[in-house]
Amino acid sequence: MEHQVIPPGQARRWYYGDDPVEPLTELQSALADLLAKADDDPRSLDANSERAHQLVTDTCRRLSRTVFSPGGPLDPLLYKQAYDALIATRDAERDMYEVYANDLECYRERAVKGLRVAESDSDRLALVRRRRKYIPRLLAFHAQTMAILEHLRERR
């Protein structure tokens, strides 16, 4: 594989146009807040799961369009490995969110019906397990995105 040597001045030209870092930083800041709350009280994520999932979706879309895009700061061919890793984590988050959101909905519906203690405990335990599997996916996505942002800031 041949690699073209890009003089430092040329590699940074994209920054004089639309800066993708700022909006991405805002999205990640919002996700970090949700994760901090979940760290204090994991149950808080139940009320914020949709928002967290939306933040992941929006971040990934923005990264694809403004960062890992032809002419963007990180050439999608050169940075394929990092981009594929990001997409794999986004997919893992999406898959687990689907299951977690479904469990959450079932739990709420069944709670309204007035379950017996044993049934309620069983539902709650299932939800706790799902949540425990979902949070690491959010954390991994956040870590990867923060690494990308850090890399972009260094190139400025």
Binding site: H3, Q4, V5, L74, L78, A82, A85, A88, A140, A147
Partner: protein, 158 residues
């Protein structure tokens, strides 16, 4: 009988100025910076045998982001050849060191792919990555040191 001259390379004088080198000084400086950063990134990845692919992806993203820059920096050194460089001996050593880093980079890149997409992660893959990462860090350090020791002014000049 006419002597064959097509396989004879004239050697340049060793006292060539930094700015008369066949490769821009900035390229040497960029290479040293990229190699040093790459080495730091590799050394920062702690090999945890129980990590999932998800955890490997999170831990190795900084390193994955460094690989293209390092490859470009190595490509920038490809013009340093014994036939063209004033210091032939140094150019030979540099070409060998550069090839070594390229090989190690390819090994680490392959290992990363296995770790970040593998299900489940084999302990052998983790050990392999640790060994290859150490070799890459060492090779990058040697190449960087080779440039810095021969052209300290080029590396330190801002």
């Amino acid at each position: 009988m006419q002597p064959r001259v097509d396989n004879v390379f004239p050697l340049r004088a060793q006292g060539t100025s930094l700015y008369d080198l066949p490769v821009p000084v900035e390229r040497l400086r960029t290479a040293v910076q990229e190699l040093d950063t790459l080495r730091c990134c590799v050394e920062r990845v702690a090999c945890e045998p129980h990590w999932s692919a998800l955890e490997w992806r999170a831990a190795c993203t900084p390193l994955m982001l460094r690989l293209p820059g390092a490859r470009q920096a190595l490509a920038g050194l490809a013009d340093i050849t014994p036939g063209q460089w004033p210091d032939t001996g140094w150019a030979v050593r540099l070409a060998a060191a550069r090839d070594e880093v390229e090989r190690r980079l390819a090994d680490v890149s392959t290992s990363l792919s296995a770790l970040t997409h593998g299900k489940p992660i084999a302990v052998d893959a983790v050990i392999g990555f640790g060994v290859e990462g150490t070799s890459l860090a060492k090779a990058a350090d040697e190449l960087s040191g080779l440039i810095a020791s021969r052209y300290p002014d080029a590396v330190s000049a801002g």
